[in-house]
Every structure is written in C-alpha cells, then in structure tokens.
C-alpha cells in the first residue's frame, strides 16, 4: 500500500476518534483566549462543514438538489472569504504574550485558510481540476475510504473509558513522569560537563602562549647543546689522535730508557 494511502487512512481514523485526542482538546481550550484564535477555530469548523456539504453535493444524484447545494456552498465560501479578511487584520495585531514568530505564523495560517476556502469544490470543473492536480487534494481519496463498522455498533457505551484503559493511561503518565525526571538528571549532568569543558578550554588557551615560549627557549638550548657537543668531539679527537698517542709512547720509552740507564749506572 503506498504511503500516501496510509496517511489518508490515518487522518480519517484520527478525525473519527477526534474526541479522544486529549492534547488537541487542551490546545483548543487553551487557545480560546484571544479573538484571533476564536475566529480561527470558528472559520476552521465552518470550512469543515462546507467541505462535507460539497462532498454530499458531488455524490448527489438529483441534479436540482446538487445545483442547490453547490449554490449554498458558493455562498458560504464567499462569507468565509470575508471572515478571512477580518482574521488577517486580527493576525497583524499585537497580542500580549505572543512572540513575533507566532504572529508571523498566524499570517501564514490565514493565507493557508484562504487557500483552503478557494479549494473547496463548488461544482466548478476548473476548481476540481486544480484539486486533482495537487497530490495533496484531500477530497479525492476521501471517497475511497469507508469504515466497515456501522453506526449502530457505536453506542454510548462503546466510547466509555474502561478500567483497563484508565489504568493504561495512568501507567503511561507515570512512565512519562519518570522519563522526564531521568532526563532532568541527565541534563544537569550535561550542564556540569559543559561548564567543566569550557573552563578546561580556557585554561588550555592560557597555556598555549606559554608553551610557545618554552618551545623557542628549548629550541635555542638544543642548538647550543649540539654546537657544544660537536666542538667537544672535535677537541677530543684532536687530543686522542693516533699521532699524539705514538709520540707519547715513544717519549715514555725514552724516559724509561734514561731512568734505567741512570739506575744501572748508580748500581
């Protein structure tokens, strides 16, 4: 199965079980604070409604009903386009607690919203072609995805939290907390390491000029030493040359001879 189909199937399932998405609901709840987010969410839900209506319109066999639905879709699209203009004005305003990047992303969100409204098929061939050219057109694969489970099975009790699932959720929260604590410990250790490493870095930087100075001095000393060694060797060689040695031995013999002569003479 190609990846894109998997993605769309997952999106459909998520949409169906949307009410269980705790994070999303928390996010929606939290962002209801300022006018921008409120208007944004309302426009968002309106677009969803319009999309569903457009779907129904495209599958409607009765031509008159289809035309009527398309007209309604077009009316809603026009209304939404006006709302988007208002939303854009809100997006540029400075709100407390919002960073510059978030404001810029809000402008992008508004533009994306406007595009989505445009892309809603309202019975126009060209619009449909545009959507189909884009591989990201969400409406086309929608038709191919059907849920096998019928609506009757999904009564109230179906979505209730069972004991197992609540236990599971608790365990998940606990493990997440433990992981967070472990990560905190690791981060503290890394902080300490970073500080030590920085200090070591600076210390080594301090030592560099000292080492260079030492190097020059030692180089000077080695060259001096080498020179002295060479000269010493030359001196020694000169002193111990065989010619001098022979002369020394000959002279010694002469002296010994003289001494023995005198000794004999005196005896």
């Amino acid at each position: 199965m190609p990846v894109i189909d998997i993605i769309f199937r997952v999106d459909e399932i998520c949409k169906k079980y949307d009410k269980y998405d705790v994070d999303k609901h928390r996010e929606l709840g939290a962002s209801g604070d300022d006018a921008f987010s409120r208007l944004f969410t309302s426009i968002d839900s309106d677009i969803e409604a319009v999309l569903r209506k457009a779907e129904l319109a495209s599958t409607e066999t009765n031509r008159a009903a289809a035309v009527a639905m398309n007209a309604e879709v077009r009316r809603t699209k026009a209304r939404l386009a006006e709302d988007v203009v208002k939303l854009q004005k809100l997006a540029v305003k400075k709100v407390k607690g919002l960073t510059r990047e978030e404001r810029e992303s809000r402008c992008d969100l508004v533009i994306a919203l406007a595009d989505r409204i445009q892309d809603v098929p309202d019975g126009n061939e060209h619009a449909a072609k545009q959507v189909n050219n884009d591989w990201g057109g969400a409406s086309a694969p929608n038709k191919n995805i059907k849920f096998d489970m019928s609506e009757e099975d999904m009564d109230d009790g179906f979505f209730q939290e069972s004991e197992e699932s609540s236990q599971f959720r608790q365990e998940y929260e606990m493990r997440k907390k433990k992981q967070d604590e472990g990560l905190d410990v690791i981060s503290e250790g890394l902080d300490a390491l970073k500080n030590l490493a920085r200090d070591m870095n600076e210390e080594l930087d301090k030592q560099v000029p000292l080492m260079e100075e030492m190097e020059t001095k030692v180089d000077g000393a080695t060259s001096d030493l080498r020179n002295t060694n060479v000269r010493l060797k030359k001196q020694l060689v000169q002193m111990r040359s065989s010619r001098n040695f022979c002369i020394d031995i000959v002279l010694l013999c002469v002296i010994l001879g003289i001494v023995s002569y005198i000794y004999n003479a005196l005896k």
Binding site: D34, K89, D191, N195, D205
Partner: protein, 291 residues
C-alpha cells in the same frame, strides 16, 4: 673556608667594607660567603640571621649586575620574613624582588612575586594586599599577558568581599570582564559579569544590579550565554518577590560553577526583604483598536 655561618658573615662584611687597604669591595667573594652563611643559618633554624644574610647576598648580586639572582635572594628573604611574621618587611622585600625581575624584563615572575606578597598579607593587612594585587595585575596587563591576571583579579575581589566592600568587589569583577574580553575568554567574561551582579544583589542594591545587567547585555557574548539567562531569572525573581525562584537559581549549575565565595553569597540570597515591584504594562494598544 670556615663552616661557622657567623664567621662567614663577618668575613664577608669585612670584604665589602672599604678601608685604607681595600680600595674596591670584593662583591663576588662576599656574595658567595653570604649565600653560604644563609644556608648555614637556615639549616640551624636561625631565620632572622638567615634573612639578613640573604638580604646582603641579594645586594651583592645586584652590585654584580645580575638582577635575576638578586631577585631570587630577595624572594627567599621575603619568605623567611613571612615565617617570622614581619609583615612590612615581607611587602618591601617582595616589591624589591618584583622590581628586580622587571629589570630583567620578565614580567611574569615580577607579578608572581607581588601575588605571593599579597597572598601573605591577605589576612593581616588586607588593604596592602589589595594594592599589591592591583600592581601585579597592572604589570601583567602592560606586558600583554592578561590571561594570567584573571586569578589575581579574582583573589583581589575575594579580599574585598571578605572586607564587605561590595561595590569594590563588583568593580574588580568588571575589570576581570574587560581583561577577558581582550583575550576572547568569553566563559570567564560571562562568569565575571554574573559574579558582579550577584555581589550587587547580595548588597541588596537592586538598582545597581539591574544597571550592571543592562550594561553587560551590550556585549553579545554575555547576552547569548547561560550566565545571562541565570541573571535574568534572578532579577525577575527579585522583581516579583519570588524567594523560591531565587533559591532555585542560586543552586543551579551555572551559579555553582563560579568562585566559592560567590557561591556562598548566592546561597545566602535574598538578603533583606524582597517585595514585588509593580511591572509596567508595555501594552498601550487596545485590543479592539484595529487601526
């Protein structure tokens, strides 16, 4: 050569005195005798006499135009004076040694000598110690070896903290920052600035601390550093009167990487009452104003 140090001393003294028979002093022989006498005295634990002998040996070396040996003897004399707790002599001897080293053109030993003097006098005469530290730092800076001066600046600031002169201590930390800036030692620089801010907070001078923080934020390296983040947290905690946050920042790893004396100060924060200060609302724009 007699082995009795006293006799050697008297002999050497005679060598250096100019009399009718002696027209020029024999410094070479005298210096040798002085050195040997000093060793002898040291071996027999007669420190006072050893010190005197070393002084004279140093003078002899100076006369022989070898300032290096003279300086070395002076330092040994100063160390003995320290042992004998004659503090003004300690300072004088080390200063003389430092001058001799500068004559040799060796700045590092010169400042080392002053540093040793300052360390010796820290407890007894802290003001002199501070003066010695400052002079040592100046010698190093003139020679362009700022990095070696860091330790001296830190030691000097510690002395000020012990004396509870917090503005002076903070000033010295800022000077450390300047020296660090010259050698691109950003870590030391940021640590120095954070230390200065903590010192101001310890003196409960919030305005000064904030001013210091604003001044230091002009420097890019500090602005992007961990130390600056800790400083912001501290200052906002002070502004909001949040004692828990102050304690948390004081025990964080950034602060624990500073000098011991600063860590002690940080752990004792906040000194005095911390009242939340009204935050100015910067938002003048009305939400419904769509212009």
């Amino acid at each position: 050569m007699s082995s009795d140090p006293d006799k050697m001393m008297s002999k050497a003294d005679k060598m250096t005195k100019l009399t009718l028979t002696r027209w020029s002093a024999d410094w070479r022989g005298a210096t040798e005798l002085y050195e040997q006498a000093a060793n002898g005295f040291r071996a027999s634990n007669k420190y006072e006499k050893a010190k005197v002998a070393l002084e004279k040996a140093s003078k002899g070396q100076e006369m022989q135009a070898s300032p290096w040996d003279a300086a070395k003897h002076m330092e040994s004399a100063a160390a003995l004076a320290q042992k004998l707790s004659i503090w003004n002599e300690v300072a004088d001897f080390y200063r003389k040694a430092s001058e001799l080293y500068t004559e040799c053109g060796r700045a590092q030993p010169a400042s080392d000598a002053l540093g040793k003097a300052a360390r010796a006098l820290e407890d007894v005469k802290p003001d002199d110690a501070i003066q010695l530290y400052t002079d040592a730092c100046e010698i190093l800076e003139e020679d362009g070896r700022d990095q070696m001066a860091f330790d001296l600046y830190r030691a000097c600031a510690n002395v000020y903290i012990k004396l509870e002169k917090f503005t002076d201590a903070a000033t010295f930390f800022l000077r450390l920052g300047v020296a660090a800036d010259k050698c691109d030692a950003t870590n030391s620089q940021c640590k120095a600035y954070l230390s200065a801010i903590i010192v101001y907070l310890y003196a409960h001078d919030l305005k000064q601390a904030e001013k210091c923080y604003n001044d230091c934020s002009q420097i890019d390296a500090f602005l992007k550093s961990d130390q600056s983040r800790s400083a912001t947290r501290l200052l906002t905690a002070y502004n909001e009167g949040d004692i828990e946050e102050i304690k948390k920042v004081a025990s964080s790893s950034t602060v624990s990487n500073l000098d011991h004396s600063i860590i002690k100060l940080a752990r004792k924060l906040p000194t005095g009452d911390v009242t939340p200060i009204q935050m100015n609302t910067n938002d003048d724009l009305d939400e419904d104003d769509l212009t």
